[in-house]
Symmetry: C2
Subunit: 146 residues, 2 copies
DNA sequence: ACGCTACTTTACGTTAACGTAAACGTCAAC
DNA sequence: GTTGACGTTTACGTTAACGTAAAGTAGCGT
């Protein structure tokens, strides 16, 4: 069968990270690649798992938070309470992510508004700026000015 | 006029941060509160600016990135090239934010799917889990298993 | 056998974003 | 007039997420 595996350098290159980073993730218990001799060999599953970790990092989670999320997928000993705890944590994570998305949307809205203002601005004599259409001064409305 | 001002402790309490954090933001040039004697006194504008900074932090930006974004709102000496540079940087920021939102959406989708599976699971004899409706084993499809 | 390359472990260094402690100023209250 | 509550500066400590250097191993080509 096509048991495709990756060296540490392969994956590092593919994801644009260093081998040190992958070893660090292993130290923190985020991945556990197999070994051939003393060398690490990453499976396809490891590869996807690493992509998951990196996306978590881009989203802003810490490594230990990511470890927690990964552990959610381990169902445990089959007790009902275990399932409920996992479910609750999972929902917490989703709520946090949605709050963060709201923050992002706000920031995008403000920056976009500022971009629109900028696009409509031309330099005027005396080191000033005026609006292209009306010739009026900018009225910039920085988010913190009112 | 009601020139409402805030002490450092007021703002810290309101935003759920420490006074040290506010002083740190000042050291990094992110805010510049007025002084009454040797004491800091934050204006309403300072307050909004700090809210902006904290939202940036929640989104995952570093303090220096936030400083850059804040500087975007200073139009500079009125040269056209300056405006274009600012506009470009502003658009870069927006693009980065949109990419990040895409990552968040992906993560939410996966976690939600996992939640749905969990909700439909009940414990079965032998420390196993089965689906409530069909009685089938979970087929969990962890993101990294396929 | 020799060197090259990729890999390993061990361990100390670095940066960001504050925490925390020390030592001091100031003003109102008792 | 001294005790607090609140503020200040200075400066060293801490944690996370790696960077980086040192020293050794293992296979492969010539």
């Amino acid at each position: 069968m096509g048991e495709l595996a990756y060296s540490i350098k392969d994956l590092a290159a593919e994801f644009g990270i260093t081998a040190r980073t992958l070893r660090h993730y292993e130290e923190q218990g985020l991945v556990a690649p197999a070994r051939v001799g003393q060398n690490r060999t990453y499976s396809a599953a490891d590869r996807v798992r690493i992509a998951w970790i990196l996306r978590g990092r881009r989203v802003g989670f810490s490594l230990s938070e990511i470890a927690d999320m990964l552990r959610l997928y381990e169902l445990g000993d089959g007790r009902e309470t275990q399932r409920q705890v996992t479910l609750a944590k999972c929902r917490e994570r989703i709520a946090a992510l949605e709050a963060q998305r709201a923050d992002i949307d706000e920031t995008i809205t403000e920056l976009t508004g500022f971009c629109d203002t900028l696009e409509n601005l031309v330099p005027a004599p005396g080191g000033r700026w005026v609006r292209k259409d009306t010739g009026e001064p900018p009225q910039l409305r920085n988010p913190w000015d009112g």
